[in-house]
Every structure is written in structure tokens, then in C-alpha cells.
Symmetry: C2
Subunit: 497 residues, 2 copies
Amino acid sequence: MIKINKAACVGGGVIGGGWIARFLLAGIDVDVFDPHPEASRIVGEVIANAERAYAMLTGAPLPPRGKLTFCKTLEEAVVDADWIQESVPERLDLKRNVLTQIDAACRPDALIGSSTSGLLPTDLQRDMQFPDRLFVAHPYNPVYLLPLVEIVGGEKTSHATIKAAMEKLPPIGMKGVHIAKEIEAFVGDRLLEALWREALWLIHDDICTVETLDDVIRYSFGLRWAQMGLFQTYRIAGGEAGMRHFLAQFGPCLAWPWTKLTDVVDLDDALVEKIGQQSDDQAEGRSIRELERIRDENLTGILQALKAGDGGKGWGAGKLLKDFEHSLWAGAKAAEQPKTSGPLRLVDTKVSPAWVDYNGHMTEHRYLQVFGDTTDALLRLIGAGLSYVEAGHSYYTVETHIRHLGEAKLGQAIYATCQLLSVDEKRLHVFHSICDAASGEVLATGEQMLLHVDSNAGKAVPAPPEILAEAKAIAEAHASLPAPDGAGRHVGQRKQG
Amino acid sequence: MIKINKAACVGGGVIGGGWIARFLLAGIDVDVFDPHPEASRIVGEVIANAERAYAMLTGAPLPPRGKLTFCKTLEEAVVDADWIQESVPERLDLKRNVLTQIDAACRPDALIGSSTSGLLPTDLQRDMQFPDRLFVAHPYNPVYLLPLVEIVGGEKTSHATIKAAMEKLPPIGMKGVHIAKEIEAFVGDRLLEALWREALWLIHDDICTVETLDDVIRYSFGLRWAQMGLFQTYRIAGGEAGMRHFLAQFGPCLAWPWTKLTDVVDLDDALVEKIGQQSDDQAEGRSIRELERIRDENLTGILQALKAGDGGKGWGAGKLLKDFEHSLWAGAKAAEQPKTSGPLRLVDTKVSPAWVDYNGHMTEHRYLQVFGDTTDALLRLIGAGLSYVEAGHSYYTVETHIRHLGEAKLGQAIYATCQLLSVDEKRLHVFHSICDAASGEVLATGEQMLLHVDSNAGKAVPAPPEILAEAKAIAEAHASLPAPDGAGRHVGQRKQG
């Protein structure tokens, strides 16, 4: 994958801050220019939200966070960046002016993306000296979790620019879709605006409240659209008769009375106040921060669910997450911890909302999930990672013994260590500990016996010499460690037993 | 909760079939009338999909499936039902005729719901003798998974009818929203139609393909809308400045060029063919059955993710699922398995798509999840279920030993049994087995030590006599069973050890 080396963000509001977080968490340094006096506070809050969300989203090893620098001038911020993202307020004159300044100050090979949600790239690039490198890169809030970026070129944008922009998004976990023709508001905001216009009429005419309208969406087609869009959903609804038949049936509805409400409602004071009041009622006293937290937890849960889609291969945004994690693992391999004489610290994570019971305690089986992640990290370390598994061999767990010594709570930072107790041709005997990251207190231990197998034949076979050598080197380094407290115990055994 | 005793469905297509599946899986008998020669095949396919989806959706005990009867006449089908759902094709004259027949044949206190997606209840009830009991109950496909039902009354519909209809939906896992005023297409289809109209223009004008348009939705706002709707999402986007400020900012956009595309596109042969071809490309050769399977797996995964939302309390459609499961557990308690002399069979489930790795094998920690569910079922049996836990006491797992003896695969039916090895004041020592449902082969065993605790004080305390009595009765019945193979073992112990 083609990575961005250095990014610059001009404008650091909620959208600009979301881009900054995306870049930083992908290990990319970011220089920021935003003259707003509160810019660094606002950006800091978005980054904090993003870090919290990523810790819940994935157990894959994020690269060391990029360096964030607030610059005094626009020129200073953009001078050595290879991706510059403009996210200033939505006024054509302002954006043109800012883009022209960027154009004059940046490297000749830099890509310049605009976060505009509606202005035409042809209009934006009018005054630029090198307009071929300007494109629209329109993201969705929260930018650090929603992967979509609409990529739209203007009349003077080069094909090479579009191609390069599309290629640089997957390494930061994003999905570029190229919109073939530029129109105002592109595709996403067109669709949103159409639905929004209709929604305003429904509230204006007291057909329902904003809460009822939101419930209609989130208990029905919102669930559908998180995983398939509009057309694929209707393809299924059409059944065996096919999409063409479905459309022929649907055609007449377009002329029914429900499609006539296409006027634009006057968003006057009375309507603003009605919606404001209904929205207050709907929030039930929850602050924006609390709603953000709930939203981000829900989004991470949905993305994780979609990662398991299509029989474990991943579907849509979940497939994208899976691919992103693979690239993280691949990137982390070279940097992985060297063998030391102590137990290996192999996993660092936070307790995700999907992992807790209604009391906020980490659920029993999630401890085993973390132990499984620890084993996976060990296997990568000795050369038995994903590509080895895909080639037909693997280590299977045959036995596990877990002791619960403390409790991990929602959001708590934890880490896991591994002590390799013994290695032979076919077996690895490991002892893991899950610890509180702040105090080092051991919360649980997990002892496991793993068997090297030929997955296709479904039977145990000796591991190859290169893997055995790696494993034995660790085991020898660990041989001088004391036997861990709790190893070799059976369930119910007395402490002095 | 107020339950439906007997349901009747007039019309058994995809929507009618979805209603039938909802009723049957909630334990309600359904009489069906549909003169279509293929009705029983179509309904059978929908029920098969629904049963597959429910097995993945929840581990809670579904009641015995209701009895399905295809009737020769409409009168026969509706005569003793207390909820009658009409789902015939979308023509006013046909629906009026069918509803008048239902009206003449059914019980005076029956509720009559129409699945119409757009016709006005006032128009539907015009010719009925008792129009006060007619309402619109508009569901969304797939009806067995999407919980929303729009409840809309006509001029002659009574308040009592609306109230009764709203109350009878939660026990079948559905969410009624009452639409205050009747308009054509109600709320959901208004919103869908507005977006659909815009989407057709975008395809017509070659701005993007159907696949790109679907990607725009499912990688961005579709993810948002699965958990919060339109207004709550914008409330967050508005930040601390508030909803009113957000609307004031958003107002001008309504007059921008992107809102002018409100004409109705002509869905002519050329556009139908263009969409049909693009939809074929998007499907990449997947059949409708395969797409349905993927959709249902995704939806169950999303619903499960939302069940963990809001710090484990459940959010939106996930909260509804959680409440539905509680009602299932409560309903199952009375019917729960009597103590027998053999191990107790406490869990029956299927391997959910969220539980498997990319090879389609059940992931290690999901075995522990099933063992945890088995323990929970035992605790309910001895009186230490959810209400006991909420009152401040619980059993915590302190130690677990798992042996993997075989493999469970995606979709495989499995069950879990529990043998209670010993009981004392503070401890329960249990031995669980996960077995293949077809052959009874043991796939994994899980031995656990549980400690009775005061959750607030965070320390072990003796269990109360009534719980001890229940537990001891089971342990005594199990005392004569042979010690299970594998109990008392430590990791790495030899078979004859």
C-alpha cells in the first residue's frame, strides 16, 4: 500500500480534527494550521475520542502515534506535506483563497484534498497555479470511525491525482469512492438532503416528532443500510423475479401522492424551535459528550459485527476494517518486541463496551479472547502468523486453564504477557497473564497447551525447524524464570496443594 | 406483557410470511389464508430463514413454535384469531374487499392490522361494519428481524385499538411507533421515497453506479442510522452550540442548488435496464438466497452489537432485543427442565457467524461463552437468575478448565449439558459439555468453580438456604453419575495421569 509520509491539515474543527486523528493514529505526522483561538482544544477533544474508539475497535497494533504540530502560518504547515487536507468553513471565496495559498506554498507533488460537502472542485481550483492536484475528499462525521471519502475531480484535476488519492486512503483505514461526474453536494449529501427535506415537512406538519422519526429509521431501514445500501436491498426484496421486475412494479409509486412533497420547507423560527424542543426531549438529558460516547461505542460494535460478516470473511465496512488490521499486523511485525529474559508483553488494549456485562465488568469469555490474542501474537513472533495459517498449518488450542484473580472494568487499560513454559516438536505450553496497565496487578491467568497441526489433514504434525528454533530460543530465555504461581493446577485445587 | 393468543394472516407473500414467522417463533398459533398456489412454499422459505436467523440472534429459549395451519377459506382462517394481519397486494379495492370479509367473519374483539405501505387507514376502513378495530401495522422486510411497525389509525379507529396494538408488539420482539396523523406512505416510506427519487436521478445522470451509491450509504450514514436516526445524529454534529444553532446554520443549504432536484424521474425502459445491469454487476454472481443469508447474518450481528450498547444496557434495536430475551427467559422459567438423574441439557443453539474465524470454525473464546450461558441457565434453575443478581448477590467464576476435543462449525447445531460435581455454602463445582446436536459427540468440556459473592461488598459470602437447597437437590441427583472424563485435570496432564 502507498502510504502518506506527512500530512497537513488546514482547518481543525470537528471535520479537520477527525482527519488529524485518522492521520496520527495511522502513524503519520500532521502539521496543522488553524487561526481559531480554541483550535488546539477542539482538535485535542476529537483525538481523545478517536483514541478511545480505536482502542475499542481493534486489538491490532497501531503504529506509534504521529507527531502533531500546530503551526503559526499556513505556509509552514503545508511546506513538506504530501497530503494536504483543507477543512475550512463552507464559503467558496474563503476556500478558493485558502487553496490558492496552499497551492503556492506546498511541494509540487503534494495532493490537495478539500473536505467541502457541496462545492464543485472546478469552482475551487479556478485560481490555482497547479489545479491538476486539487480534488474533493469529502468525509463523514465522525471521520475517525466512518470510513467513507467521496473523491471528486474538477475539470482540471488529473487522472493521476484521483488514482493517487484513492490509493492512499486504505492505509489510514478509509474507503475512497470515486464519483464519476461532479455535481453540487456529490452523492451522499444529495441523498441526505432529499431525506432531510422530507423529514422537515413531517415535523412541520406534526405527522410525528423527531424522536419517532429517528426510531422509524433506526429500527428499520437504518439497520439494513449499515450493511447493504439501497439498490442491493431492493434487489433482495425483488426476489427471484429480479431487479428489473422489481423496478417495473415500483415504477407507478413514483407518481403516487407520497412523492409530491418536493417543495422546500421554510425553516423559520417556529420550526427551528419545534425541532429544538423535540430534540431536547429525545436526548433525555444526555450531554453531547455522552451521546458521542454512545454513538462511537455503537459504531465500533457495528463495525466489529460486520467484520465477522460473510462467513468470517468480513462484509462492507467490516471487510475494510479486517484489511486495515492485516496491514497493521504486517506493519508491526518488523517492530515487534525482541525476545527478552522476562515474560513477553504482547497485547495492550482497553476493555471495549462490547466486552462488558450490564455491571460494567469484563465478561468471562472476553478474558479468553485476550488470551487468544496473546497466543496469536506469540505465534506471529515465532513465524506462525496469518500467512503460515493460510498456507495450511497452525497451532490449535487443546486445553486452557483460567484463574480469575481480579476484575477488569469498562474502558480499563490492560495488557497481557506470555511465559513460554515448554516447547517440543508438536506442542507449545504457555502461561499468560492479564494485568492492569496502571498498577501491574494480575487480573487473570491463562495456561494453555497448543498443538501444531496440518489443518487440511486435521491432524497433529511436527512443526518445521525454523519455527521450532524461534520458539525454543524464547523458551530457553524463559527457562530461568520461576514457575508461575498457578501453573499446573486443576480446578478446585487448594492453594498449598 | 399482553400476548396475542391466536393470529391469522391473510396473504402469505414475503411480508405476510415474515409476520407468520414472527408469530410462530413467539409461540403463537397462526391460521393462514392465501389462495396463491405457491403460498405454502413461499411461507415455508421465509420461516426457514427466520428460524436460522433466530438461532444466531439469541441464546434465549424460544417457546415451542406455534402451530401453522393453511386454511381453505378466509373465514376459517380469521374466525378465532385475536390479531388478524392483512398483507394482500397494494390495491385499494382489493384491500377494502378483503378487510370487509375479515370484518364480517372475525371475533368482535379482534384487532385487524393492514400491512399497507402507503394507503390511508380511513380509506381502508370505509366499508367495514366495525371500522374502529382497523389500523395500519406497516412492517419492514425482513419482518422476522427488523423490529419496526408503524401503527397508524384512520378517522374511525378507536384509541383502545391503537393502545392494544402497541402493547401486543413487544412480546413478539417488535417495536410499534404510533404515527400521529395519517398521510400517504406514513413516515418510513416517505423518507425512503425521497431518497429513492434522488438516487434514481443520480443513476439516470451517470453521476455514479448503483454499487457506488450503495457504498456511499453503507460506509457512511448507513452506519450512523443503524443506531441513531437523523435528528439525534445532527444534534451531535451541532455540538455544544445546540440543535437550534445547527439548524440555523443548516437553513441556507435548503435553498442551494443541491435541493432543486425534486422532479420525478421517468423510470423508462432504458433506466430500468441500466439499473438492472449495474445491479447484476454489483451482486458479483451471488444468488438472492446468498444475499439474504449475508443480510440476515449482518443484521443479527448488528443487533447483537447494539445489545451491548450504552455500557451493556442495550441501545435502540439492541435494547429491544435484550428486553425480548428477558421476556423469553421469564416465560421459559416455568417450563424449564425438571431435575433429572442425568446431566442437565441447558443450552441449545447454533454457531453464529459472529462466532467463527475465517475458516468457519467456532473461535476459542466462544466455547467459553457457551459454557457461561450454561452456567447462567443453571443459576436461573436454582433461583440465582437475573433478579437475584440485580438484588446484589451472584455467583462469580473463579476458575475454568477447557478441553477441546472436536470442532464446531458455522451454523452447526450444538447443545450444552451440566453435571453438578459438588456444592458447599460458598461454592458450586460444575462440569459442562458442548455436544454436536446431531451425533451427541462431545466437542469440548468446561470445568468451573463458582463462588457465591455479595457483589456490593465484593467478597464471598454463604448462599442463602433456599438456593443451597435447590443446588443440593441437583447435586444429590448427580452424585450417582460417574465422574466425567477429564474432570480434575491440569493443563498438559497425560490421559492416564
